[in-house]
């Protein structure tokens, strides 16, 4: 089970400033383990950000996004009580998500 997306956010003048962390190995497929075997590529391919179930931002990533990706973005037209949700899917089909209720 993949770890949950950690989200922090601040609402100012209707704009939500969101910072998120997604624990994930982000293996490129070119690294070797201590025995010299190639570690298969394992990385997040798509990230989708929602405000109250409406898609506001999507990201397509390659394996060159750093391990345990950090992703910050801003969402317009937000109000207290709105829910920001982030989900990701990796190249193995695994997925995870996280939620934040704006204050």
């Amino acid at each position: 089970m993949a770890a949950e997306v950690k989200i922090r956010g601040r609402l100012s003048n209707g704009v939500a400033q969101i910072k998120s962390l997604m624990p994930h190995p982000m293996e490129t497929g070119t690294q070797r383990d201590p025995d010299g075997n190639l570690i298969p590529a394992h990385y997040i391919e798509t990230v989708t950000c929602y405000r109250n179930d409406k898609e506001v931002l999507t990201a397509n990533w390659g394996a060159s996004v750093s391990k345990d990706p950090y992703f910050a973005f801003q969402v317009k037209n937000c109000a207290p009580g709105d829910v920001i949700r982030i989900t990701w899917v990796d190249n193995k089909g695994e997925s995870s998500s996280g939620e934040l209720v704006l204050k």
Partner: protein, 153 residues
Amino acid sequence: MKRHDMNMNRRKWLSGMLALGSAALLPLRVLADTKTAFKATSADAALQELFGDMPMEESAAITFKVPDIAENGAVVPVSVATDIDGVQSITIMVDENPNPLSASFNISPDAVADISTRVKMGKSSTVRALVRTADKIYFTSKEVKVTIGGCGG
């Protein structure tokens, strides 16, 4: 119901279905393009896959923050922001990486064209930020010196 009303309804329904159809097709096409672009092994090939023959213009209206010297190539902070109107996507590319395309962000009208993340860099390289609008690609670039590589080093 009068004949006239019926025609109007039919027309509305038809145009509604057409709009739905094109809206559903668009993201699929974009996704297909990016999949191959992420496999490209040169910046030029990745640009061609992503943007085809769209006109490109260097722009000072993109605020692009990357360190001049990255001590750890495994974690290079990157921020891209712009006040250009009608931004559809922001793309980050590291020319010297085995696969230069690193990340692409689709910005809806409800999102601000301002994103930050961290990328890996195998060695010193030109890093580009590209901003797509409906009819043009705006870009800016910076040289980043890497002292310890982040890809299989």
